[in-house]
Structure formats: C-alpha cells, structure tokens
Symmetry: C2
C-alpha cells in the first residue's frame, strides 16, 4: 500500500534564462549558484569573442578560436549556435544531455535567438525572459558596464527593442529591478520549484 | 519611453486547493493566511452539514439549513455545489467574482468533484492537488481527527482512492508530508508566485 499515493515524478528540468543584453542575466545566475538552494548544472557556452577582464575560461564561457568553432559545427556537436555581434556562440548538446541524464536541472543562459532555437528543438524547455522596468534602466546598465563603444551601445539598444517583441513567446517574464536582485532570484527559484510540482511533467528529451 | 519594457500583467488568480479528506487542506490554508506573504481572498463555502467543535460560522463555512441551500440553488447563486456524505456544499459565484474584481487572488478549498466543476467553468483556474506520501498516512490523519465513525472512515478511504485517479487532471501536485507543513506552504507560495509571472496570463472570467 505504501507509495500508492506518491504521484510525483521529479524529472530534471531544462531552464533557459534569456533577455536583452545588460539586463543582468549573469549577476542573477551567480546569485542562484551562491545560494545553492536549487542545485543545477549551468551550461557553459562556447564563444569566439575575446575574453573580458574578470572572465574565466571554462567558467564564464569556453573561449575558442573561429577554427575550433567551425569544427564543432561540422561535427554537429552544438545544440544551437548563433552569430552575435560578429562572434559565434553555441552550446554543446552533449553537455545538456549528460547533465539531464544525471538527474540535475540544467540552466542555459541564452540570447533570445538562441532561446527560440532551443524551444523549437526541445518544447519541454522552460523559457524565462528577464527584463528591466524600462528602456532607460537597461541603457544605464549597459553604460555602467563600460565595455561598449557608443556605436556598440546603440546597436545593443536597437537589438533589445526588437528582442522585446519575442517576450510573449516565453513561458515566464521576470522583472529584474535595479535594487531588488534578491527578489528576482526568489522569483526564479519559485518558478523552478513550481515547475517541479507539475501534475504532468513532460520528460525533456533531446 | 518609460514603461515600454514593462510587459508584466499582474492579473488576479483563481486558485483551487483540493485533495482527499484528511490530507490537511485547512491546516495548510491557515498557515498561508498566518504568513500573509501572498494576501488572498479565501472563499467561504456554504454547507448544510452540522458545525463541528472549534469551527466558526462564516469563517470555516457558512452553515446553512437545507431550505436556505435550496434557495441558493434556485437563485443560481452558486458557482458549483456538490452532495458530499449526504450534505450539501457550495460556493457563491458572486463572492469569487467580487474578490477577483478587487484585484485579489482568490483561493477555493474544494473536494475533487468541486475542483473539476470549477475547471470546466473557469479553465484559467489553477488546480493544486494536495496529497499524502501514502495511504497509510492519510488513514492515520483521519483517525487522529476522531470525527469519524469506523464506517465513515471506510467510506472516506474508498472515496480517496477513487479521487486519486483524478490527480492527473490537476495543474500541480503537492505532497503534504506529515512533518513538513512549512515545506508544503513554501511550495504553494512558489506556485502562486510563479503563476504571477506567466508571459501570457489568461484573464480569469466567470
């Protein structure tokens, strides 16, 4: 008779966190990792863009050459890839599959184009759109970063405007307010917790 | 430009908490009310069953006569009603509508039959199925209540078995473990928080 009532199926989730550049995806993910409340495998993206100050290879990104990236494409090793600001970015299918197989939730940080690709290939993926309260706040954050030229900034803002139109294709929208990082992370954790209690959780397969 | 990015639509939610008798729906709801983290309007059910010790009229239920209940049915005042163990139970449509109109989330505690009726009439309702780890635990809780005769207990257990088959029609399933009430309430609050961040929240209409 025991366990007859146990109808919970704790399947690992594939969660995609996306949103315009500058919205604070990395900061939010770092805090989630620090809190450790919901352990997850964070997918490290391969990129051909130059490493920035304070970034660590293999932690923030796998920094690879254009030749290495081309090889990954040829060998169909990539889950999806995109050309962003003239640089290549892509995520390894195998990395995602292995983490899910081990029973761990997987979180991917993707630009909106990448998120759309994943959703098409893996409809069970949970897409979370991170956004700022208004455009002004986004611009301020990009400026504070000081990694952009004036031209680069303009391009990013124009892109962000376009990208916002895709927000409605996401499953969840979370506001990342300037002074409420804790609240943002609370909401992300609530979404993950809730999704683990779905009555009919679809098994993620890729 | 301000608010251009604000694509959140905080619509009030209609949440239905259900599950077999004895699972602890009332206890869980009392704790949610005490915490006050997510204020909600709790729909007080009208019933013809006799008031129990420690129950308060208008708080636990509206205790009405069979004649009064018949009048409510005739006037189409009831959102749904059901005959449970020879007694009538029903919820006022107006009460739910008024609370939603004021912008508040509404929580209804319903037996599984009632939950199914609400979902049919209001597909936007979020159905949460509260359950115990196994049948043994449920039986123990019903026994501990000491409000049931041996016959009554048998009937409740048989009903619970039937009811469990409906769990899959719910949106969420939450385990209410014997020694982890706080955890149960955390999960319910996470579900409510997550649902408030849906990208395309359907407006509840009834």
């Amino acid at each position: 008779m025991v366990n007859e009532f146990n109808i919970l199926h704790p399947e690992p989730l594939l969660i995609v966190i996306s949103g315009p550049s500058g919205v604070g995806k990395d900061t939010v993910l770092h805090m989630m990792e620090e809190r450790g409340e919901y352990p997850f495998h964070f997918v490290v993206t391969a990129t051909t863009r130059p490493i920035r100050k304070n970034e660590v290879d293999g932690v923030d990104y796998f920094f690879v050459s254009h030749d290495q990236f081309a090889e990954m494409i040829e060998n169909d090793e990539l889950f999806e890839y995109a050309i962003v600001y003239n640089d290549y970015k892509g995520n390894s299918k195998k990395q995602v599959r292995d983490a899910l197989d081990s029973g761990k939730d997987v979180i991917m940080r993707l630009d909106i184009q990448g998120a759309a690709t994943v959703k098409k290939e893996v409809p069970e993926a949970i897409l979370i759109f991170l956004t700022t309260e208004d455009e002004e706040e986004l611009v301020n954050r990009l400026k504070a970063r000081k990694t952009e030229t004036s031209e680069g900034l303009k391009l990013r803002i124009a892109t962000a405007r376009q990208e916002l139109k895709h927000a409605k294709y996401f499953d969840y929208i979370v506001l990342n307010k300037d002074d409420a990082l804790d609240e943002t992370v609370d909401t992300l954790e609530a979404i993950i917790r809730a999704e683990h209690h779905r009555a009919n959780p679809p098994k993620v397969s890729l």
